[in-house]
């Protein structure tokens, strides 16, 4: 057991602090905009803190740590791609500026403005399914991380995880985006301290030369060159770049930070500066993973190697800080994701089955029930689902299920006047087809005919989803201009 009394004290103080702060923030919620986008009053620094905290969960550390352990330095390319993608979205305002100007609260809401209520319903369903499947494995990885770092068996960790998710559900249901923004700030500070502690511990215990030697002996040239590494290659690099641009602009939990900002200009600055942190977000945990390779060699379970290293080298006292940091990272991610997917379920799926929107109070009530139901689903799904390929690739693929179609629909909707309903339907359905095909067929590759094997390659399935969605939007729109004339967007606020 690695965890001492002082570590427990630090962790419990943190958990109690989160509950008190999250529930206290409920007093600031007065209407739907207050609940879902914090009244659109979030400024740059706070926006960056909440955005980074949302996008950095324990699952992020685990999947990047795993990549560092199995692929060496080659995976570091992902950090550069993410930095380029997110800061470009921030610098140019690509999509996020337009969405913020139209004052939407969820991305499918834009589909109704530009296309139709039915497109919004379909977009909401695809987004919800992709989002919940994506989030479904988070708890598994959190469990692995905590079990290795703290030195307890899976039973004790399951209890901690359940307590954590119940706390998150409670404050997200009650305080919505207000609770999220306020707790995210505190969680951002704590998780940054946790990351710093872990990085310093790694630098003190594992020397850089032995990391280089371990990578070259284990992986050869593929350990430093992503284009040579068999896990990556050109397909992977192009897919991750396109996917990062799409996720940067259109991943509901992240985009909701732009939609909560005080103005479109602040949304852009928030994205640009957050984008600059994204190289570190990927490379810091990958560096820990490479250190685990140097420390233990190969042969450990790939997701467990990095957390096991941290559990062994971080001293008692600091370990509590690290665990509090990781719990903070997870809680800020869960809260934002829970609110994002429950908002989509309430407003874009349940709400769109009616001809008119629910009253605001009903929407907030439905969102609260949905957040509770999704939280319970996470606990159940996380226990039995076994992910294919690496965690990173599963997360990106389930993300692509939605972002590929959304990229086609929203980018064309904002910047291409000829985009219409038929194009939007085709983009959403074709974008979801390749990732869904992979998830369904990957486990039965042996019974597939040879010409269908390409769909069981995670990188090809991911890349294909973006290509098919773009093709669907362009061909679908051009072929049906007469039968389905494009609708123009309403005029918007300018700042």
């Amino acid at each position: 057991m690695n965890f001492g009394t002082i570590d427990w004290v630090v962790t419990i103080i943190y958990l109690v602090g989160s509950v008190v702060l999250g529930i206290w923030a409920k007093r600031y919620v007065e209407d739907l905009a207050g609940y879902m986008v914090a009244g659109r009053n979030v400024k740059v620094y706070l926006g960056i803190a909440t955005f980074v905290a949302t996008e950095l969960g324990t699952v992020t550390f685990v999947y990047y740590g795993e990549l560092g352990y199995v692929a060496g330095y080659a995976g570091f390319i992902i950090g550069i791609l993410a930095l380029v993608a997110y800061s470009t979205v921030g610098q140019t305002g690509f999509i996020i500026e337009g969405l913020r100007r139209h004052r939407v609260m969820t991305i499918p809401e834009f589909y109704e403005l530009r296309y139709s209520r039915r497109v919004r319903l379909l977009g909401g369903i695809v987004l919800f399914l992709g989002g919940v499947l994506n989030m479904g494995v988070f708890l598994v990885f959190d469990g692995i991380f905590l079990s290795e770092v703290m030195g307890f068996g899976p039973g004790a960790v399951a209890v901690i995880m359940t307590v954590m998710i119940l706390i998150v559900i409670a404050y997200t249901i009650m305080g919505g985006m207000f609770s999220i923004v306020i707790t995210d700030y505190m969680q951002f500070v704590i998780l940054t301290i946790g990351m710093l502690v872990a990085t310093l511990a790694v630098l003190l215990r594992v020397d850089l030369a032995s990391m280089s030697t371990a990578v070259s002996q284990t992986l050869g040239a593929g350990g430093v060159d992503p284009f040579v590494n068999p896990r990556f290659g050109w397909t992977f690099v192009v897919w991750v770049l396109v996917s990062s641009v799409a996720a940067g602009a259109l991943w509901q939990p992240g985009t909701s930070k732009a939609l909560s900002s005080e103005s479109p200009a602040i949304a852009k600055r928030m994205f640009f500066w957050t984008g600059l942190t994204f190289a570190g977000r990927a490379m810091v945990p990958m560096f820990w993973g490479v250190a685990a390779l140097a420390f233990y060699g190969t042969g450990l379970p790939t997701t467990a190697a990095m957390p096991r290293l941290l559990g062994e080298i971080v001293p008692t006292g600091f370990l509590g800080l690290l665990v509090a940091g990781m719990l903070a990272a997870s809680m800020s991610t869960y809260s934002a994701y829970l609110l994002a997917w429950s908002s989509v379920l309430a407003r874009d799926i349940v709400g769109c089955t009616r001809t008119r929107d629910f009253p605001e109070a009903t929407t907030v009530a439905v969102t609260r029930v949905a957040a509770g139901a999704i939280g319970i689903f996470l606990l159940v799904f996380g226990l039995w689902y076994k992910i294919p390929d690496t965690a990173f690739q599963y997360i990106y693929l389930t993300g692509a299920m939605y972002t590929s179609g959304a990229l086609g629909c929203v980018a064309a909707g904002l910047y291409w006047p000829r985009a219409n309903n038929a194009g939007a339907y085709a983009a959403l359905l074709l974008g979801a087809a390749a990732p869904a095909g992979f998830l369904l067929l990957e486990k039965s590759r042996d019974v597939l005919p040879g010409w269908l094997w390409f769909i069981t390659d995670v990188n090809i399935a991911g890349m294909l989803s973006f290509a098919l969605a773009a093709l669907g939007m362009v061909l679908g729109s051009l072929l049906t201009q007469r039968s389905s004339p494009p609708r123009s967007l309403p005029s918007v606020e300018h700042t």
């Binding site: 600031y28 979030v42 980074v52 070259s216 942190t277 190289a279 990927a282 810091v284």
Partner: protein, 48 residues
């Protein structure tokens, strides 16, 4: 250390400085943003 490993180690150092540097600035600046958010929302809510 191989040249490839050296390249990525330097890139990691730059990325780390950028991450922790921005985190420090945001942690300090975020306090006033937080006060501002709560102030505005409190005033809005207390209006009849």
């Amino acid at each position: 250390m191989t040249s490839g490993a050296l390249f990525w180690t330097i890139t990691f150092a730059v990325a780390g400085v950028l991450f922790f540097g921005i985190a420090l600035v945001v942690s300090i600046g975020g306090i006033s943003d937080l006060r501002d958010l709560l102030g505005k929302s409190g005033r809005r809510k207390s209006k009849p």
